[in-house]
Amino acid sequence: MALFGQTFITGVLMGGIYAIIAIGMTLVMGVMKIINLAHGALMMVGMYICLVLFEHAGLHPYVALIPTMIALFIIGYLLQKYSIGRVSGVETIIPESQVLLTLALGLAITEVIRVIFTSNYQIIHPALTGEYWHLAGMTIEIPYLIGFVIATIFVALLHFFLARTDLGQSVIATSQDKDAAVYMGINAERITNFTFGLGTALAAAGGVILMPLFYLYPHVWHPYLMKAFVITILGGMGSTVGALSGGLILGLAESFGSTYWGPQWGEVIGFIIFLLILLFLPGGLKRIIGR
């Protein structure tokens, strides 16, 4: 029973952290209707900025979170404005040239980081790292718990922002009908840039949360990009509630898969869910839960 409980808690906590990474992607996919393959690399940039802030300014990652997010927001905004946005609507032999561009940008960003910081594994030990909390025979790592709380707060803030503010509503409107948004006097191009920046900042937040928990190296983003896709497809594009529930489902599936089937198979379960959703529930959970 304790094993089950432990597995469950690990899954939920991890799922929450996945959700914040995925929510940035689902937002970008909802508005731009493209797959952003640079999402993971941008998250990793956030992690390195956090590393620098920790090592040179002594900021605890949870404090560095805000400046890191601001930096990544700006990077994302500019990338969309001057690079990815430029390619939209260009007719090419291979379709999805925007997707390929995000892919190439992701590789380029990774290489920049690799050149600056080398491929070496780095790890930081801020306060709270490695501290545990024992509860009814289960162990909860404190940074996981804090990460989960931060992620949940951001998801809630984002949900509130989208539902209650004019800017947030403009983002939603642009994702539902870009032309109609322009009729309303919304500068859809700027909203798209803004959304890309916001999505990137959220990914960076997810990355920062992971800092006290895992090693950092330039390709650290690989598995998280995959998970973000899985969750986005699972939850439905542009849906915050979908991303949160998708994150929790994926976290739980991986956790239970690892515990009861073997750690190496945890990831496979995620991909299998992904394929099944793609094939049999296009639109994802959003179709079931409404919004």
């Binding site: 493209i34 797959i35 690079s83 430029r86 390619v87 260009v90 090419t92 032999i93 291979i94 379709p95 999805e96 040239s97 997707v99 390929l100 561009l101 892919l103 190439a104 940008l105 590789l107 380029a108 990774t110 290489e111 920049v112 690799r114 050149v115 690989h222 995959m226 896709f229 899985v230 497809i233 073997g262 190496q264 198979w265 990831e267 496979v268 991909f271 299998i272 992904f274 394929l275 793609l278 094939l279 296009p282």
Partner: protein, 318 residues
């Protein structure tokens, strides 16, 4: 006249490819082998991606299966991996057909994503099914010709020539026309009586097979394979797309040029500027997608028109 000249250039290039390498250094021959391998891979990807418009982010599946075809024969029955040249492509095709049957229901980016997921699944499966694949330890075999490179080069050359021949034949047949029709407009293709799903599968077969052939070559030449190298998402699946993109998708010579430039440039940059070589590469890819999205061959008419205009205006000024 034009056609005759093209054949002449081609024949000369062919002769150069055959005659010159024996006089080159070992390293140069090694680079040429990689060039031939990448040309083969780029052509393989392009049949499905460039001609039929089904962007696959998971062609490492077929490369890896091609490599493992020979590898498994060697591992389990101690048969020379040269048989992998037949077994590898066949394995790739056998796996490719059901993948196509399932994933061709998805359009556009969703197909790309599904292939990406499958790539990861298969890589994990091959890493963890120890009894079947020897797991992460991979498979090692002895090289037939030891440190000698030339025999491998000629085999690679024959394989690349075969890929070019297959692509040429496809392009000049009903299949080629149907593939491109599907890429350009699936509804129009259906209205012309083209069973689009069936023809996508028809495109998958040579695409998987040729990519698998390149994998089989890799197995024999490098002589050791690991799941994380032959099923690599980035170093194989995505680089294949970038190679085609640089040269120009959907044509015969685009992938050939792209594969050659990609493999050649990769080696040269690595030898000259070392650690930042890959950064330079990625930046080139970004610039190509932004400013020459149809690659060198595809954008050539535009570039030529631009140069001509420049010449004309400077000429009139002078």
């Amino acid at each position: 006249m034009e056609k005759k000249r093209q054949w002449l250039i081609l024949a000369m290039l062919g002769i150069l490819c055959i005659v010159v390498p024996p006089f080159m250094g070992t390293y140069a021959v090694h680079v040429l082998i990689l060039v031939m391998m990448w040309i083969t891979m780029a052509l393989g990807w392009d049949i499905l991606g460039g001609k039929t418009g089904q962007i696959s982010f998971g062609h490492a599946i077929f490369f890896g299966l091609g490599a493992y075809g020979g590898g498994l024969l060697f591992l389990h029955w101690n048969i020379t991996p040269w048989w992998g040249m037949a077994a590898g492509p066949v394995l790739a095709i056998i796996v490719g057909i059901p993948i196509g049957l399932v994933c061709f229901r998805l359009r556009g980016p969703y197909f790309a994503l599904a292939m990406l997921a499958l790539n990861e699944i298969i890589a994990i499966v091959f890493t963890n099914l120890d009894t079947l694949t020897n797991g992460a330890t991979g498979i090692d075999c002895a090289r037939t010709w030891g440190a000698e490179k030339l025999p491998y080069y000629y085999i690679a050359l024959v394989i690349a020539a075969f890929a070019i021949f297959v692509t040429y034949r496809i392009q000049n047949s009903k299949y080629g026309y149907y593939f491109v029709s599907i890429r350009e407009d699936q509804d129009a293709a259906e209205a012309l009586g083209i069973p689009t799903t069936r023809y996508k599968i028809y495109a998958m077969i040579p695409s998987a097979g040729i990519t698998g052939l390149a994998g089989a070559l890799y197995m024999n030449y490098i002589s050791s394979i690991y799941p994380e190298t032959v099923f690599a998402l980035e170093a194989i699946s995505i680089f294949m797309i970038l190679a085609v993109l640089i040269g120009g998708a959907g044509s015969l010579w685009g992938p050939v040029l792209g594969g050659a430039i990609f493999a050649g440039l990769d080696e040269i940059l690595r030898a000259t500027i070392g650690p930042i070589s890959f950064l330079v590469f990625a930046v080139i890819a970004v610039l190509i997608i932004m400013f020459m999205p149809d690659g060198i061959i595809g954008s050539w008419p535009k570039v030529r028109a631009y140069l001509r205009r420049r010449k004309l205006t400077t000429g009139s000024e002078g």
